[in-house]
């Protein structure tokens, strides 16, 4: 008996849906092995990591709170990824969105109950502007946007760091690298009293809907996807390739910027040095686990939020390093890419006695 990998005549639709589910199942399975290897009782650790964050209403609102920025960023990124625009610098755009919003909040001081609206706009512009640089470099001089967006993450981190250590440092903050706490008008309205869940969640859900309409129903979205997938066809039909790059980059940047606002004007209430904490990179995984489709992204962001919170729980209750959630993120992506192979291929059992056939070779 020989195992043989055989190309499918057409890509399997069923596997496209099943593959993320298989990746989740395999990640959960592997987590048991990992807990055992770390000397913890696997089932107990599993319960702390994966079930604790779902135990009651308050825990669920925390999950939604954590999922919101992921949902926002991943949706914006998916718009670009559908057009083969590889923005991997959402982390930096997130930071610049947060910085821009903080600027508005600090300027407004205590005045204005609606400052948070201006902050959202400023955040979108900040993130968008940070993404516009690689878009310009790509469309003008064909600079690779993967490299440029990634490098701009580090610039953004240093800008934020400089601001909180320097001009924006809270004078009454015992020299901690952080700004003043924002006034009430500069914080997003709370949805459920007594929790931290805020108005960013409905905003994220609305974004999902808009993205769905844009990608699946609008002619602009269609043109952009044609330009991304087949440049020659776009040129033949008269669609602009550089517009596709601009839309893709700006969507990703603006949404990451809004996510940054949701963080500073939400649970943080101020700008700190470690504002981004990996949301921008985790959202890349969310976008792919969600199959670059708004509905999938909605589910995937909840899953990723669970991994984040699970890591915190594991640190608190069973004394595991919180970076274990990064291990799970990595495993999830690893299993997803593996399972995706079966969208285009299938396994077959072949009789070894068949002379004319080479396994794996062809």
């Amino acid at each position: 008996m020989l195992l043989e990998l055989e190309a499918r005549p057409t890509a399997s639709r069923r596997m496209r849906v099943l593959s993320p589910l298989a990746a989740v199942a395999l990640t959960l399975l592997a987590s048991l092995l990992l807990f055992a290897a770390l000397g913890k009782e696997p089932l107990a650790a599993f319960r702390v990591f994966f079930l604790n964050p779902l135990r009651d209403v308050h825990a669920l609102t925390e999950l939604l709170l954590k999922a919101t920025p992921l949902m926002l960023i991943a949706t914006g990124l998916a718009v670009g990824y559908r057009a083969n625009v590889w923005n991997i610098g959402a982390e930096g755009q997130f930071i610049m969105g947060a910085v821009a919003a903080t600027g508005v909040a600090l300027a407004a001081g205590d005045g204005g109950a609606w400052t948070w609206v201006a902050m959202l706009l400023a955040g979108a512009c900040g993130g968008g502007a940070w993404a516009a640089v690689p878009a310009l470099l790509r469309t003008r001089w064909r600079a690779n946007e993967i490299l440029v967006t990634l490098m701009m993450v580090y610039i953004a981190q240093f800008v934020a760091s400089w601001l909180v250590h320097g001009p924006w440092k809270n004078p009454e903050g015992f020299n901690f690298p952080q700004t003043r706490l924002f006034a009430d008008g500069s914080l997003l309205p709370i949805l459920v009293e007594g929790t931290r869940l805020n108005a960013a969640l409905p905003l994220a859900l609305a974004t999902l809907l808009v993205a769905y309409v844009f990608l699946e129903r609008s002619f602009h979205g269609y043109q952009m996807q044609v330009a991304g997938e087949a440049g020659a066809a776009a040129r033949y039909a008269g669609y602009s390739a550089s517009r596709a790059v601009w839309i893709g980059m700006l969507a990703g940047g603006a949404m990451a910027g809004v996510a940054g606002v949701a963080e500073v004007a939400g649970p943080m209430g101020q700008l700190t040095e470690s504002i981004a904490s990996g949301y921008g990179f985790a959202a890349i995984i969310v976008a792919f686990v969600g199959r670059l489709h708004p509905l999938g992204i909605c589910l995937a962001s909840l899953l990723m939020a669970l991994l984040f919170l699970g890591g915190e729980q594991a640190q608190q209750f069973i004394n595991l390093p919180s970076s274990i959630s990064k291990v799970f993120q990595g495993m999830l992506l690893f299993f997803l890419l593996g399972a995706d192979l079966f969208i285009g291929y299938r396994l077959r059992f072949a009789r070894a006695a068949n002379p004319g056939r080479l396994s794996w070779k062809t």
């Binding site: 055989e6 190309a7 499918r8 005549p9 057409t10 890509a11 309409v213 129903r217 609008s218 002619f219 602009h220 269609y222 996807q225 044609v226 997938e229 087949a230 020659a232 066809a233 040129r235 033949y236 039909a237 008269g238 669609y239 068949n354 002379p355 004319g356 056939r357 080479l358 062809t362």
Partner: protein, 549 residues
Amino acid sequence: MATLHDSRPGAPRLALRGIRKVYPAVVANDGIDLAVMPGQIHAVLGENGAGKSTLMKIIYGVTQPSEGEIAWEGRSVRVTSPAHARGLGIGMVFQHFVLFDTLTVVENVALSLPGNPDLADLARRIRAVSERYGLPVDPCRLAHGLSVGERQRVEIIRCLLQNPKLLIMDEPTSVLTPQAVRTLFTTLRQLAAEGCSILYISHKLDEIRELCHTATVLRGGKVTGTCVPADESLASMARLMIGKELPRCERGAADGTGEVRLAVRGLSQATADPFGVALRDIRLEVRSGEILGIAGVSGNGQQELLYALSGEAPLADAAAIRLCGTAAGRLTPGRRRALGLCFVPEERLGRGAVPHMSLARNGLLTAYGSGLLRFGMIRLRAMHELARHCIERYDVKCGGPDAQARSLSGGNLQKFIVGREILQCPRVLIVAQPTWGVDVGAAAFIRQALLDLRATGTAILVISEELDELFEITDRIAVIAGGRLSPATPTAQTSLEEVGMRMSGVWPEPRPAIDEPEPDPDDGPCPPAGELEPWARRHATGKGHSHAA
């Protein structure tokens, strides 16, 4: 001619028994038997998709059969790789040549030989072979300056240097002028007379009748017959190949009095691509209700002309192209489309259609103006309806409007693209290689669709390498060579020979037309192109280029 009928005694040089090749979606070869005798020119005849290429890949060791046996000179072998095949004495000349443009001929040949041959010695051997078989090629020239016919000669010489006992030629004449075809046939006959067997793959019946001693006909992966081509008629061979009579197109007479819809005057454009062709002073007119054909060996400026006409490479001079009276030289493809221009490009997958998108969405690609949009949103139902209509009307065999473009065969995708463009009721339609790689039945269907469109008054420009096709459907024929376009002649008043001459860049001085009184200032003796370009210009020695007419 056919003095070498396969009556030689002895074992066949190559014998295939029950060859079967299964791919996941299709059975490409199914129980194929074939025997090639020494010194025999053996045709393998079949439509696209009949399994000819797969069979040749099996013989040449590119792929392995799922079942069946190959016997080489009486001994059963398993050809594991092309190198192994060459070791056995099997050479193959591919349809698409694989030469490095920046290397010389001798360097290109050296790359395919084992070891590290001495270039000076190799150049001598190349000269010897090229003289012996009438294949003139200068070993020191760079490959990018070679015409397509010369490239083919290099490929043949490359094979001959290894003294093959079997030479496989894959559709060798598809890129040649009629004159170059004659030269090739002389060479092949000489090779056969010396005992080399030749497997000649083609779908051109008249060539096979003229050249080949015997023919094996494939259809749908199976052998449907073996015949002596000289004893058969074209119709009887066509029946074996496609299983029915060769379809003919019906056409009405041209009146030639329609308004000028597409007018090109003095279109010149340099090329940014070092291996591209600069366009020089192109003039043409296409009237409502006529089909103008442009013949020519590929790589003589067809691509560049099409890019200029479609707007994918806009011109600096707006007036060089007039579309229904509007100066269109600088307009984008979208603006030209709005003026009534539709265009079927040569590459179907990736340019004419987006591979991973459904047919419905591929319909939207250019037909968005046909009521498929509302407030910038796609009308999904109308989009599906258009695709369904196109599929039905143009007999596209596919899984429906949701099938991905890449899942269709080349011929069916071409029918869909042609249908999509025709359904937009164009005022001007430009079609590049309408039936390239399309099977005989679909090709006749597409030609008929073009003729029907002509009857409704559309001005149609067809650029094709298939001369038979141009003679069948066009009203006038012009020839492109070396970036220049010959004046158009009424198809009924010209001949294959005359068009063939023009394909090598030689045509009479254009008589000043009534609406173009100014004489061309720089029209010296026409620079030769195609077969003659550019070597003949540099070394006017006359050695070679024996256009055995």
